[in-house]
Assembly symmetry: C2
Homo-oligomer: 149 residues x 2
């Protein structure tokens, strides 16, 4: 029973936290404390986000900053950045099935487009949510909690 790597969720966490901490310095240690993991692991993920052009970070200089507007970073951007799923290959399909059999020689061509459509449907949902939405939602939840305490 597989699942998509938590690198994706952690990536969203990191980007959101950088925004909340925009007046401070978001070092890998600072971020790691919030995610509750190792700074080295955070740096690995930040490296991926950097490669995708989502953040700015420089060796020797403490802190990571967002490279784009909050509203211009979608969850799909993050999802692609952290390499959790390969394009059109969320579903793996057995290869080398027997071409002497009607099903064997046609099954791949038949199901791959369907599986691809399913994957696209998932990705479209992620494309319609930005880090700005996440930040706003966290803020709302936070205000709600305060009112109740």
């Amino acid at each position: 029973m597989m699942s998509i790597s938590s690198r994706f969720a952690v990536g969203i966490h990191i980007l959101s936290l950088i925004e909340f901490n925009k007046d401070g310095i978001s070092s890998s240690e600072y971020l790691a404390e919030s995610v509750n993991t190792n700074p080295a692991l955070i740096r690995k993920i930040i490296g991926m986000l950097k490669k995708a052009g989502l953040v700015e970070v420089h060796p020797g200089i403490a802190g990571t900053k967002l490279a784009r507007q909050l509203s211009d970073i979608t969850l799909l951007d993050v999802y692609k950045a952290v390499n959790v799923v390969q394009k059109h290959e969320l579903f793996s399909v057995h290869e080398n099935s027997n071409i002497k059999c009607v099903v064997g020689r046609n099954i791949q061509d038949t199901i791959i487009p369907i599986l691809s459509t399913a994957q696209s449907a998932l990705e479209k949902v992620l494309e319609n949510v930005t880090i700005e939405d996440i930040v706003k939602d966290i803020t709302e939840k936070e205000n709600l909690d305060k009112r109740h305490s």
Copy 2:
């Protein structure tokens, strides 16, 4: 870079082949030859399909038969049957993030519903395709190929 187990694709292959071979006996060895793998692996997957009520198969008796109408087996049924993804857990989310941090104490509640929506979008696509559709598509592709040869 993970991907959903090919058990799903193989499950679809098996069910389709049982239909194409409905006048014959679909033993695990016969099915394995088309999938190009081991009969024991096929029996494992058939065991899952059986548990989900999609096929009928009995120890000691050769062959597996469909337990439902072709049009009454969706790809979502197969997907659920072969246990490739856990309900609401296609995406894994890091737990134990730091509750002393605004983001840490809200991130899960914020992103889990979104990820769940994305997963549902994927599953809805699978729900709208039946084994009958697959069988028809294979038949069409097959006829097309014959015309061209």
